[in-house]
């Protein structure tokens, strides 16, 4: 497992410069647009997609077949990708909070707004990426592309759905306090973590039955 994780970390290191440049571009864009949410979403999506990109590379070189000639369990091939996701999402949340705090100081927005955005984006990223990983283990990265796109749509539709319900119920968003929103964001993160565990379990089952 340690070896597999090390291999993936080298993969992240190899694409690190490109990712860092992209993040910097989005930070600059956020300043220009005076929009913390935009930056938060882009950082978490970008960072969250790292395990998926590593998996795409693995599939291209048929790494799984080679790895399975080593003293490694099939389930470990799956677990390492979810583990990576679990390491990256908190980092993405922290990065979003940090940049959001700087941005907030400049744009005079509240810190709690950055925290809420970071947690919500982290939850979306964790849900979407763990779902995408499961789809990739199930169908292969090529065929799973549409489902990967759908995985980002689902939380967005959910957010719009909630917003729509608020409107129908004539509950003004202004009535919701920042603390309540922060609590909701934490709950979303917990729910995403529960889904991630479920998707991980399903992925393990998929790979155990698959020919390599």
């Amino acid at each position: 497992m340690k070896g597999l994780l090390l291999k993936d970390l080298y993969g992240i290191k190899a694409s690190g410069k490109a990712y860092l440049s992209s993040v910097l571009i989005f930070v600059v864009l956020s300043f220009a647009l005076r929009n913390v949410a935009y930056m938060g979403a882009m950082i978490t999506i970008l960072m969250g997609s790292l395990p998926l990109n590593i998996l795409t590379g693995d599939e291209a070189c048929v790494w799984a077949r080679y790895a399975m000639t080593m003293p490694v369990k099939r389930s470990q091939l799956v677990t390492v990708k979810y583990l990576l996701l679990c390491l990256i999402v908190p980092l993405a949340i922290a990065a979003t909070m940090a940049v959001g705090a700087v941005l907030g100081a400049v744009l005079h927005t509240s810190l709690i707004e950055s925290v809420i955005i970071a947690l919500a984006c982290g939850a979306i990223s964790l849900f979407s990426m763990s779902f995408s990983l499961m789809c990739c283990f199930w169908l292969g990265t090529e065929k799973a592309r549409i489902l990967t796109a759908v995985s980002y749509m689902l939380p967005m539709f959910l957010v719009y759905g909630v917003y729509f319900l608020f409107q129908r119920g004539e509950i003004a968003l202004a009535d919701v306090t920042a603390e309540q929103l922060a609590a909701a964001a934490v709950l979303c993160l917990v729910a995403a973590a529960v889904f991630a565990i479920l998707f991980w379990r399903i992925s393990c089952r998929i790979i155990n039955k698959r020919d390599l």
Binding site: K2, G3, L4, L6, K7, Y10, G11, A14, S15, G57, D58, C61, V62, W63, R65, Y66, M68, T69, M70, P71, V72, K73, K209, D211, L212
Partner: protein, 289 residues
């Protein structure tokens, strides 16, 4: 003699191809050449041996362990596998591969690996994607042979390599096999490599193992009789293994060229190479009894 690998009635069905009750052995301390045309079932069989696919029938025993006993992944410490395309991620360097494998294998021998790296002149900091095919194969072999493996399984590992690199690699195999509990199963369609290194030949054609035989016995016994179509008809069925008609006459592959020479002293007879044997048998599309 103990067997490093026993493949018994292994069956795997795919759409359009069936590996059909394949059976053969890899005796301990030997190099077994696994030959057959593209799509004959070599890679499928190798994947079955490495537990990479689920079988529709039959069983495989590797290093004395049956499928149940191989549930624990630790047994794979004792095998080294090399595939035709390497399967190593492009972004890894030799140094990084050393560290990754050091964390994967409990028995990783860093000194042995570094010796191979020096011997093969592999650049430590160059990424795998920038390696030539020969370098990639050498690196895969270095990994396979640096963790105390007792069995090497090589799937088309020498394909696409120039003769000099192939020769180097074959020498390496011969070194590896010096240990009496070491064994190699190598699938290839470069038959000259097997004539140099293999002890046994297993020939697979259209998903069926047509024969497994000692290489020396094959080369010693099989022969090609050059005759007319009428003379070919007179050759006993149990002696003939294949036949090719051409405009100059008929060539017949015989299983025992000495017997053929004694029974038909007037006929021109040449020894058969492994390639000849493979081609005649593949053309016949039948099993030799």
């Amino acid at each position: 003699m103990k067997d490093a690998v026993v493949v018994k009635d292994v069956t795997k069905r795919y759409k359009g191809f069936t590996l059909d009750h394949a059976s053969f052995r890899v005796p301990q301390g030997s190099i077994v050449g696994f030959v057959g045309e593209n799509g004959a079932g070599k890679s499928t069989t190798i994947r079955a041996i490495l537990d990479l696919i689920r079988l529709d029938g039959g069983e495989v025993e590797v290093l004395g362990l049956n499928a149940q006993e191989r549930q624990d992944a630790a047994w794979r410490e004792n095998i080294g596998a090399v595939f035709d395309t390497g399967h190593i991620p492009d972004y890894l360097t030799v140094e990084q591969i050393d560290r990754v494998m050091g964390a994967v294998y409990r028995q990783w021998e860093r000194d042995t690996f570094q010796n191979f790296v020096r011997r093969f002149s592999l650049p430590a900091k160059k990424k795998y994607k920038d390696f030539s095919r020969g370098m990639r194969m050498k690196l895969s072999l270095a990994v396979a042979m640096s963790h105390g493996a007792r069995l090497l399984v090589l799937d088309e590992a020498t394909s696409g390599l120039d003769p000099i690199v192939r020769d180097e690699i074959l020498d390496l195999f011969l070194e590896f096999i010096q240990e009496e509990d070491h064994s190699i199963l190598i699938s290839t369609h470069i038959l000259s490599d097997l004539e140099k290194a293999a002890d046994y030949i297993v020939f697979i054609h259209q998903g069926r193992v047509l024969f497994e035989e000692e290489k020396d016995r094959l080369l010693e016994n099989y022969g090609i009789v050059h005759c007319t179509a009428e003379q070919a008809e007179r050759l006993p069925q149990e002696l003939t293994a294949g036949r090719r008609d051409n405009r100059f006459g008929t060539d017949v592959l015989v299983r025992d060229r000495r017997k053929a020479a004694m029974q038909f002293p007037g006929l021109a007879l040449d020894p058969a190479s492994i390639e000849d044997i493979m081609l005649y048998l593949a053309k016949k599309e039948g099993r030799i009894s």
